[in-house]
């Protein structure tokens, strides 16, 4: 009895000094933020509530100052940040894979030129044994089956990053489809969220779709080998994602505005993307509490990030972010 009272008192003491942070936004990093929040609370007693409502919702809510921090898969341009009065920094990196379901063709066996991938998603390459694909895969027996394209039905940062990459890989794509979180898809089936696209790929033999790497791991999908910016074949592996992340030239001056697709380097996987955190400029005291959380996550959260299929930020980037916080008086 006495013991439990003591424990209660201790709990009360902790919660008196502990604080709550509310965040909302991108669904892609949500599993990781939940995990980080959980261990942060265990370590410090402070609670982080994160609502996974999508990047657009996150930007809207932080612009209206409904939450303490917003999260977005699509970075805001410095000018927009100034207009809305926001700070911005990356939290973690993710990568997007072209996952396919072709019976008999295993993981990382299929090679696809970046422009051919664009042609597939535009419906211009219709069959798996098309000459353009066969050329790059002389050792594979490609079936004469119609390609079922699977894409996101909801607006998403994943689509933004994927279409950014395709736009830079294919002028045909850039001119006709363009870049965006939701597109006018010429062909294919739409699924809601990464889960929706995953289940479409799983259910439809001879399909291809784009999902975050974490969902490839979870569903044991086969993913295509793509080409680097310099034209070398590159497999969707963690080392190659990291190589791309290293090449990113972040600058605090631009509030880390940077899109990571098609980075230079012979082993840089072409579709890598960071996900960002937005903080209100006027709420310095609250921002300090939020940066404390991310500082904790940067220090202790790399292992969980890797386990869940994300790529932790390189150490230099983390230091640069801390310096950015300090110079703005929010750390």
């Amino acid at each position: 009895m006495k013991k439990s009272l003591l424990a209660l008192a201790a709990l009360a003491a902790v919660s008196a000094s502990a604080y709550d942070i509310n965040g909302a936004g991108a669904s892609f990093p949500a599993p990781l933020y939940f995990d980080w929040a959980y261990s942060f609370q265990k370590a410090t007693g402070n609670r982080v509530n994160y609502q996974s409502i999508g990047s657009g919702g996150g930007i809207k809510q932080i612009s209206a100052r409904v939450v303490d921090f917003g999260a977005s898969d699509k970075p805001l341009k410095p000018r927009k940040l100034d207009k809305k009065g926001l700070y911005q920094f990356p939290a973690v990196i993710g990568s997007i894979v072209a996952a396919y379901n072709i019976p008999g063709i295993g993981d990382m066996k299929l090679k696809l030129e970046n422009k051919d991938l664009a042609a597939i998603f535009m419906g211009k390459i219709k069959f798996w044994d098309d000459k353009a694909i066969a050329e790059d895969n002389p050792n594979l027996k490609l079936p004469h089956k119609k390609i079922i394209v699977c894409h996101r039905a909801d607006g998403s940062g994943t689509t933004f990053n994927f279409s950014y990459y395709l736009s830079h890989a294919s002028s045909d794509w850039a001119n006709n489809i363009g870049i965006g979180k939701a597109l006018d898809w010429p062909v294919g089936l739409g699924g809601k969220g990464n889960e929706g696209v995953s289940s479409l790929i799983k259910q439809n033999p001879y399909s291809i779709g784009y999902v975050e790497y974490a969902y490839k791991l979870k569903n044991k999908f086969s993913a295509a080998v793509l080409k680097t910016k310099s034209g070398k074949w590159v497999s969707p592996t963690e080392d190659n994602f990291k190589a791309a992340a290293k090449h990113a030239k972040w600058t605090a001056k631009k509030h880390f505005y940077q899109i990571l697709a098609l980075q230079p380097g012979d082993d840089s996987y072409p579709i890598v993307a960071a996900t960002f955190i937005l903080l209100p400029r006027e709420a310095k005291a609250k921002d300090k509490e939020v940066t404390k959380f991310f500082d904790y996550a940067f220090k202790n959260g790399d292992e969980t990030a890797k386990k869940l299929g994300y790529i932790p930020l390189p150490k230099e980037t983390k230091d640069m972010i801390r310096a950015y916080w300090k110079s703005n008086g929010i750390f």
Binding site: I53, A153, G155, G178, L200
Partner: protein, 287 residues
């Protein structure tokens, strides 16, 4: 004192009733206000434009409107005869024990949340239909089938209850005059409950056209007017459910409200037509 209570009761219930009207009007106003930028930008062409390219700020509502109407029509075509059949069996033909058991099952089915029909449709029905129809198994036809399964119990339960209201004395007199079961059904029961049946069809139609979760899973979610019923398509509620969270330009946001407004107008028109034309005709005949 009694008079005071009376008037208090009258006014309270009046306020409650008026609230309904206020909510309806407020809903219209809000939808219209939010949709205004899109209405100004696209006008009525929104209804016929087939291109939906959010990243270029081009919005056309035709594929979604088409999908809503066609999937609902398929659902009604499948569901109406089956539901009426169930209702006839339960109210007129089945033994009391069977009627009680099956009746209970129908009511339980009617209470299943629609998202469960959607998940079932995606994971179990779509693969089966894919083998039969080819393609991906997702599209207007699949959506129509899932919707019909969703509304059948609902329609059947209402129609059965309506049929039960046929006074026994009417049926007995018909039987007494030597009418067969079929004749009693055709000439006594169905004419008597016609308005109930039509009412159930209207309610089911309203449910089907606004249904979101059951069809999001099986529609295929493509902003295209499909070449066949077995290709991926979309509908208004599905578009709204998928795209609201990430609608980040003003025109995008407003276009989604425009779609919502159109949906409201469609369901309104359907119900109004049904109510004023059909029910009136039915009532006139009865007199």
């Amino acid at each position: 004192m009694d008079k005071f209570l009376d008037s208090l009761f009258l006014n309270t219930s009046r306020i409650f009733a008026i609230t309904v009207l206020v909510v309806l009007v407020a809903l219209f106003i809000v939808l219209f206000k939010e949709a205004k930028p899109a209405i100004d930008a696209f006008g009525l062409q929104f209804l016929t434009n087939t291109r939906w390219a959010p990243n270029m700020d081009i919005f056309g509502g035709y594929p979604a409107i088409y999908g809503s109407i066609v999937s609902t029509a398929i659902a009604m075509l499948i569901a109406t005869p089956i539901a009426i059949g169930i209702a006839i069996f339960l109210s007129e033909l089945a033994s009391p024990l069977v009627a009680a058991i099956v009746g209970m099952a129908v009511e339980l089915l009617a209470a299943i949340p629609s998202i469960i029909y959607g998940m079932w449709g995606l994971f179990y029905l779509a693969p089966i239909l894919k083998d039969i129809w080819g393609g991906s198994g997702l599209g207007l036809a699949t959506a129509g089938v899932v919707l019909s399964i969703m509304i059948i119990p609902f329609m059947a339960a209402i129609t059965r209850d309506a049929m039960k209201t046929t006074p026994d004395i009417l049926k007995e007199s018909a039987y007494g005059m030597g009418a067969t079961r079929w004749e009693v059904l055709k000439d006594v029961v169905i004419p008597y409950v016609k308005s109930g049946i039509i009412g159930s069809i209207i309610l089911a139609l309203g449910r089907a056209i606004g249904e979101t979760m059951a069809v999001t899973f099986v529609m295929g979610n493509a902003h295209k007017v499909p070449h066949s019923l077995f290709e991926a398509a979309t509908s208004i509620p599905v578009t709204l459910a998928n795209e609201f969270t990430e609608a980040d330009t003003d025109l995008y946001y407003s276009s989604l409200f425009y779609l919502a407004l159109i949906l409201l107008v469609i369901s309104f028109t359907v119900i109004a037509i049904a109510k004023f034309l059909f029910l009136k005709r039915v009532q006139e005949k009865k007199i």
